[in-house]
């Protein structure tokens, strides 16, 4: 019943919303607008009542696993708990109902909040200039790369290359490409780290940026990061830190301190903006001082001596700004949640987040390593990448089989088949907001699964709302909407 189509609930004449009569004198529409511009027929939107709409979507929602219902160790995504106070506070009148073009004098509370967020993100990164604009991590990458480009152009340099290790998130090369750079992929060392030789071989005066995730996607800290940064800086390039894994190092070390010149945050990961079934995210960037003039506008400035009628906080465009990367000022609703989180934790709390995220990951790794070996690294940071390749070789059970079977036991699956450098990768990120009891239960379940009949596992999951979908058919004959194309 839940999975009946919304359109199947439609009956001509049913209504989900009522609108009042116009309280102004009404004229025929074709006196107001040219007839040629008017629709000939009404839209094909369905006609459904409010009770049916609620029942439909409430029932659909229950087909999801989510952090509020299940352990969700999806590696690289930092599926930590989303504090409920954030939802309440981000919905306050005076926060949720501000129009982007209001007079800044009526926005001083919001601008203060955003300014403070900029300051905190600068401090946590060790990079002093922050832009809150990017809508997501990928846009943060793109924005930072354009910033770098503008910087080089301002110096009269035209550098063409962006380098990144083969363990990088796919967005790194994609962002570099749309920013107009040539992409150079580097090998990883046996230890799962940046291959210094390969890096050296590719660094030259065309190198604009070296992009690296640190801790990297294998959950390992790039221990040579300072040396790497020095090498990049030596050829005049810049180091970009993909901050996807900041949850591991808050208060322990800072991108600005280990050689990074630019980075992005994922507020929806590290600072627990809710993931919202795929978004919205928020991807602020932080950069070194010498890059600050190139940031997209506007940024929030604080004016110490604003005077009687002046505003303390203002929106300003950096002098050599790359321009806008989006409309308005950023995914403010998510930034507000991040602000609430930062203000809740403070310095000690932020460090405790990373301490426990790393502890949880290492513990889970330790109690699983005999059955799920981790090819790279001894200690991990906040996540680890195990490999099911030995298991696959033995009895044909794949990382995907394990992932799917976990769903039957009430655990969301880890990330599988990423990063690409680990065969049959199973990437587990427990986060700090899970208990030892949950980790123990998860490990127990993995052991149980590995004892099960491989055939049974190939068919998993067995107890979910649907069994494995046919993705090949879906891609060959895409059905992307439920009505006949008109």
């Amino acid at each position: 019943l839940a999975t009946e189509s919304l359109f199947a609930l439609s009956q001509p004449g049913r209504r989900g919303a009522e609108l009042p009569e116009a309280d102004v004198p009404v004229k025929p529409l074709n006196e107001l607008l040219p007839t040629a511009a008017l629709a000939i027929e009404p839209t094909g939107l369905p006609e459904v009542t409010e009770p049916d709409i609620i029942r439909h979507f409430v029932n659909l929602s229950t087909l999801n696993m989510c952090v509020d219902t299940h352990f969700y160790p999806l590696g690289s995504c930092t599926m930590k708990y989303n504090p409920k106070r954030h939802e309440r506070l981000a919905s306050l009148p005076g926060i949720v109902d501000l129009h982007p073009y209001q007079n800044p004098s009526d926005l001083q509370g919001m601008l203060a909040l955003l300014y403070e967020t900029q300051e905190m993100l600068a401090e946590i990164s060790g990079l002093p200039a922050v832009s809150l604009q990017p809508a997501a991590g990928a846009q943060g990458e793109f924005t930072a790369l354009l910033t770098a480009k503008a910087y080089f152009e301002d110096r009269g340099e035209k550098r063409t290359k962006v380098l990144f290790p083969n363990s990088a998130h796919g967005t790194n090369p994609a962002s570099a490409a749309i920013a107009g750079f040539d992409c150079v992929q580097l090998a990883s060392s046996k230890a799962g780290l940046v291959d210094l030789e390969d890096l050296k071989a590719n660094l030259d005066d065309q190198t604009a940026v070296f992009m690296v995730t640190n801790p990297n996607t294998l959950g390992l800290f790039e221990k040579d990061i300072k040396q790497i940064a020095d090498m990049v800086h030596e050829v005049g390039g810049l180091v970009y830190i993909d901050g996807a894994n900041m949850n591991a190092i808050l208060g322990y070390t800072r991108p600005g301190d280990f050689g990074g010149d630019m980075m992005h945050y994922n507020v929806h990961k590290t600072f627990t903006g809710p993931h919202g079934a795929g978004g919205p995210g928020s991807g602020p960037i932080a950069v070194r001082d010498f890059l600050s003039d190139f940031l997209p506008g506007p940024v929030i400035k604080r004016n110490e001596n604003a005077g009687e009628n002046g505003d303390q906080y203002t929106l300003e465009n950096p002098p050599k700004s790359i321009g806008r990367v989006r409309t308005f000022y950023g995914n403010i609703g998510i930034v507000v949640r991040g602000y609430c989180y930062l203000r809740t934790l403070g310095a000690k709390g932020l460090k405790a987040v990373s301490e426990n995220a790393v502890l949880n990951a290492n513990y889970l790794k330790a109690i699983l390593k005999d059955v799920l070996p981790v090819p790279n690294g001894d200690l991990c940071m906040h996540e680890f990448v195990a490999s099911a390749s030995k298991i696959k070789a033995e009895n044909g059970v794949t990382a995907m089989d394990i992932a799917k079977r976990l769903l039957d036991f009430g655990f969301h699956a880890p990330t599988v088949y990423f990063p690409l450098v680990v065969p049959e990768a199973i990437m587990v990120e427990p986060t700090e907001t899970e208990s030892k009891e949950t980790l123990d239960a998860f490990a127990e379940t993995i052991r149980k699964i590995l004892q099960e009949d491989p055939e049974y596992l190939h068919q998993a999951p067995h107890s979910t709302a649907i069994s494995r979908p046919d993705e090949v058919v879906a891609a060959r004959h895409p059905i992307l909407q439920c009505c006949e194309p008109q």
Partner: protein, 451 residues
């Protein structure tokens, strides 16, 4: 510490299982010289009670539509949001889930996004919709990129000067580094002359970007402009106001190739400019060139209808630098809001909302234009829910006077850079009238401005 589980006893047990002595040991791969040797210099932690008092105070330092009548426009609008939208969007099952990678555990999101795609197709008359992009402005650059791939023309796009100036700025930011020329056809008297567009187009142009109704609220000759685009082998990209499609011809009706929009009007609060919702739909034939996430219908092993992330081969985690776009998320939760909103309004409701906006906006324009010193600079141009109001004594004077009476108008045209002169009217101010505005409010504004 809030949200943490590990008691110190448990920490000890866990460290023992790992085989190290302290949590400090777990960080041994971070060289000592790279460590931060002091606490982060951030403000002290607040308990929930303190945080609520603090953020409430910040909120009270702002002035929202609750205390002021909002007639602000320019791409973000104070439309009414039915409570049922919040009821669904605030369910943990939606907002604390992630991208539906595991279809078996995500049919809730997947079917909702599939229905979102279907609703957008019905609204726009387009064949296919993705599951959303960031927001209205970035949709324009994504559309331009897509047009470049489709047409294999990488050097030139043409925009109408009546496009939202921030959208134009975004396109310029995105394209200028790719050596793609961005040609802007100036807007004269509130809309663009098709003849000027024809003159600007050539057979190296990837696309023509039309906003209809345009930034000034007025209608463009979208149909004719689409024909012009096609004449040059370019794609017609139409940025629409989703509410307007309750009464206006849909992009699919007049042959647009790509239809994009800011979807904030569909059930998302203003929240100071974001997160909003990029709507992106196109003709079926271009579907594999389309950016963003797509949900497809298929069957499971038992033949049961179900939904999956589809055509992922276009995306970054597979194609990396050859991907159709670097965007790897959608605005999931905002798309859910829009789906619920459109379902609630339905065929009749969307028409009625559009009519109310249009009627009330015309009433307001008529009344305001009768005030001495105020003019509608484009009296000949048809508009939908938003219009430019010029003030002989300057935009600031008008804004200030309205604000003192409790009304927020704007944005003022002078706020933006108008490289082509399209918005040259430095005394002009946008006024947007949604279905929420009442005659009483409009009359009160008129009285105040007359005084």
């Amino acid at each position: 510490m809030p949200y943490l589980f590990n008691t110190s006893e448990q920490q000890q047990e866990m460290l023992q299982a790992i085989g190290v002595d302290s949590t400090e040991d777990l960080f041994s791969n971070i060289p000592q010289e790279l460590r931060l040797d002091r606490p982060l210099n951030v403000p002290p932690a607040l308990t929930e009670m303190e945080l609520q008092a603090h953020v409430s105070k910040l909120a009270a330092d702002n002035v929202g539509p609750g205390s002021r009548v909002c007639m602000l426009g320019g791409g973000a609008y104070d439309h009414f949001i039915p409570a049922a939208v919040d009821e669904i969007a605030r369910r943990g099952e939606f907002y604390t889930a992630y991208t539906p990678y595991q279809a078996e555990a995500s049919q809730g999101s997947l079917q909702t996004f599939f229905e979102f795609q279907s609703l957008i197709c019905q609204l726009t008359g387009m064949d296919v919709s993705n599951a959303s992009l960031y927001e209205g402005g970035t949709c324009v650059s994504e559309a331009a990129f897509m047009a470049m791939r489709v047409t294999n023309r990488h050097d030139r796009v043409v925009l109408l000067g009546s496009l939202h100036p921030e959208y134009r700025q975004v396109v310029e930011t995105y394209l200028k580094h790719l050596n793609c020329e961005v040609v802007v056809v100036p807007c004269v008297n509130g809309s663009v002359d098709p003849a000027d567009v024809d003159a600007a187009m050539n057979d190296q142009t990837a696309c023509l970007v039309i906003q209809h109704p345009n930034f000034f609220g007025t209608l463009e000759e979208a149909e004719q402009l689409t024909e012009i685009a096609h004449k040059y082998g370019a794609l017609s990209v139409v940025s629409y106001d989703p509410i307007s499609l309750g009464i206006l011809k849909r992009p699919g009706d007049y042959g647009a190739d790509i239809a994009i929009a800011e979807g904030q009007s569909l059930g998302t609060p203003l929240q100071f400019g974001g997160p909003y919702l990029g709507l992106f739909s196109c003709s079926e034939k271009f579907v594999r060139r389309m950016p963003g996430r797509l949900i497809g219908q298929t069957v499971d092993r038992n033949g049961k209808r179900c939904y999956v992330l589809n055509l992922q081969a276009r995306e970054q985690h597979i194609r990396r630098d050859k991907a159709t776009s670097n965007i790897c998320s959608n605005q999931g939760l905002i798309a859910i809001r829009a789906a619920v909103y459109l379902a609630l309004l339905g065929k009749q409701g969307i028409r009625e909302v559009a009519e109310l906006c249009c009627q009330k906006a015309h009433y307001a324009a008529e009344q305001l234009a009768q005030i001495e010193g105020l003019q509608l600079p484009f009296p000949e141009r048809a508009f939908f829910k938003e219009f430019v109001l010029s003030c002989s004594e300057g935009a600031d004077y008008l804004l200030r006077k309205a604000r003192q009476a409790g009304f927020d108008l704007g944005p003022e045209l002078s706020r933006f850079e108008w490289t082509d002169g399209s918005g040259a009217d430095q005394t002009g101010v946008l006024v947007a009238i949604t279905e929420q505005r009442t005659r009483e409010e409009i009359d009160r504004l008129v009285t105040a401005l007359k005084a």
